[in-house]
Amino acid sequence: MTHSWSRAAQAGIVRAIMLAIPIAVLTMGWAAFKGAGGERLAIATVVNVILVVSIGLFVGNSGVESFGHVAFAAIGAYAMAILTTDPLVKRTRIPDAPFGLSDVHLGVWTGALVALLIVAIVAVFIGFVLKRMSGISATIVTLALLIVVNGVLNNWVSMTGGAEAFYGIPAVMTLPIALGAMTIVLFVAGAFRSSPMGLQLQASRDDALAAGAMGVNTSGLRWVSFVLSAVGAGAGGIVLALLLGTITPKDFYLTLTFITIAMLMLGGKRSTSGAVLGVIIITIGNEVFRWIGDGPTLGTVTFPQLPGFSNLFLGLVIIIMMIARPKGLLGDWEIDDVLRRWRRQPRPTVGVEPLESVASASPVSLRADNVVRHFSGVAAVDGVSLHVEPGEIVGLIGPNGAGKTTLLNLLSGVLRPDSGTIQIGDRPLPTKLHRVARAGLARTFQNIRLFSDLTAEENIEVTTMVAKASHEAVLQPADLLAAFGLVDVADRAAGTLAYGNQRRLEIARAAAVGAHFVLLDEPVAGMNEVESRELRETIRELNRLRGAGIIVVEHDLSFILGLCQRIYVLDAGRIIAEGTPDEVRNDPKVIEAYIGSVAADELD
């Protein structure tokens, strides 16, 4: 399945409908069965779907855990409360509200729009802080957000009324309206997940460095998904405020955070369907355990009251899921995947024509001038100058610790040089990693860095979709899969492929960047002779297809000597020799530094 915006919209609609119908049936059935009290629980469940699906939009696609989204629900709810509550109530409850807000009386729909706008503005700022962070630091910032917002709600008494209840909010929420809001959120989350943006963000979730090196703008995408998901959470807060009519800061704090996290973890944070399933199971479980905790009467036996039972259930669900199935019940599965089984067409596997070369019409060269990079005083790369011309295959060899990988990291923009310049054509190498790929330079990594949870095809697709934006001539994923012999494994998760296939896939992915230059870091490491001979052909194919200049860093001398037209020899951070394989083989300095006098005889 390819990822385009029209396909994403389609997937979003299908997914939203397939998920909304069972929820609507369940909740409306419950409301009809239980009356007014039942409708309250039904709407509260719908609110949880809105919240959890929204949180999943950010957490699932970006891989950054958030404890802070409930803060956006709080902001939405309080903004709604302050904007739409009758001024008669507000003049007693918050008589001195700033900006004359105690006299403002917006209608529900206008109020909701303004409240969402406020949530979006806050989210834009928080997202700006968050977008460059990952792992634990990002999670700490989201937790800090929750606590700061709670502190403000509790203490900005003139605006929010403080810790005491804010009452008098128009309690106009009905089940159909809540379901409508939920369907919109489901659509946005579903469409985002299947969209080009979603796929790129998932790639960065699997490996942020590799994604950057393929041109994916991780921080920008994180920002977008964070704002979208915050607005969704804000919508959940608004619906909740209109349901309850009375809110306190405590309603939007740790308890709600606990519950929504448990729901998301249970169903599977990556899948919209999983989020919905998690809400349904936990809501039912919670009600059952609350009923047990209240001391139910079964026939003649009355059970003792045990408050806290529903929380014990939540805690245990989280622990068990983290241990047994950290990806949740559904993992990456979506409800509309059942439809795809019928729609899938078999791939053409035989009779593929040789791909036509899409060599760039205006070739430029890659050059480094006097590049220096120190690590705590030690010069790993010490004044290196080199150049690579289009269509050339250049080798970079040197003993361990010579600075090869550092040089490659400098050339690919992963590290910045302390001094010296690196240029593609007449333009300096961009400072942001993802711009390097867009400027026409791709790379592979010594220790293979694929997007392991995406399929082989998606790995390539992520890259072509970025490349399309900056180049005209782009190879299609299907063609690349064929050219690199990966058709049979196209639909398998990249992390599950055999080693040789992973290497080939990484090179195919680099080819998909549409780059003028491709840097390969130890491509045959860990391969046997047959595999490495095959890989040599793969690299030649890459060279032919793209007309790209290729730099290969390798330990395997015979591999380099048999593949490259020109070779640089690096030792102790400096280039000590340069020339054709024959010249390098016979250079006494190279023999001295790299090969050693004994081994030199064997080479001849």
Binding site: E65, V129, M133, G135, I136, S137, T139, I140, V141, L143, A144, L145, I147, V148, N150, G151, V152, N154, N155, V157, L254, F258, I261, A262, M265, L306, P307, G308, F309, S310, N311, L312, L314, G315, L316, V317, I318, I319, M322, I323, P326, F375, S376, T405, T406, N409, V414, L415
Partner: protein, 296 residues
Amino acid sequence: MSEFLQQLVNGLSLGSTYALLALGLAIVFSIFGLVNFAYGELITIAAYMMYACSGLGLPWIAQAVIGIIAAVVASMLMDVIAFRPVRHADGTTMLITSFGVAIAVQAIVTIVVSARSRTVPQPEWSSESLSFLGLTLPSYQLFTVIITAVALIGLVLILQRTTFGLAMRASAENFQTARLLGVRSNRMVSSAFALSGLLAGIGAVLILARTGGALTPMMGVAPVLKAFVAIVIGGIGSLGGAVVGGLALGVAEIALRAYLPGEISGLTDGILFALVVVVVLLRPQGIMGLKERLRT
């Protein structure tokens, strides 16, 4: 001036409790990357154990010892039951697991005891105060500072002078390498949890002395959040940083409470957490953190 000194003493006393708690959190984190949110529940468990003992009429010192032992045992149990199975998972999976443990323990305390608050009678001396150079020093503050100092010195001696301490410091630096060199991983992790529980238990005794013995099932949440802030400020993963971060946090908190204008003094916690965001942004390695290690 004496007002300032008084506040400084208050700050250091509060800060030394935070330092102790932060250290307990940092020991486990530095060994295998778990930010243990359920650490706060160890405090709760110790406190409720003291409550149970006081119901049996045991003297205060016996309550304290049993409470601390309970926290140690509970900490090691948490490791075996919940954290060992996810030990090799990523940091956020472990963090969320600990979240689950925290909720479960709170629920169990609610079920077994009550959701309502309880009180452990504190010894009379804890509510007295000493006058000293024009400063009024509540004796619980003096007690806190002394206990913290003893605990920290004891810990430093263990870490610096014993083979076990060496193994633990090596594991904190690089757990994988330490294991390859023969440090037994399960034993090391269990010991880290035991030490962590010990510090939480001591922290519980100090917190009860400060609050006059009030207990609720949620009582562990606020301290763990503070300890969290302290290790972030001090440099997550650094043991020395945890102590410095805790002291700095205590002083900052007292200063904010004392000198913020009355109408926003309730915002203290909010401001402290905003501070965390600033620290994470400007110095992700913390004020005491090691220089960023380069990995490519």
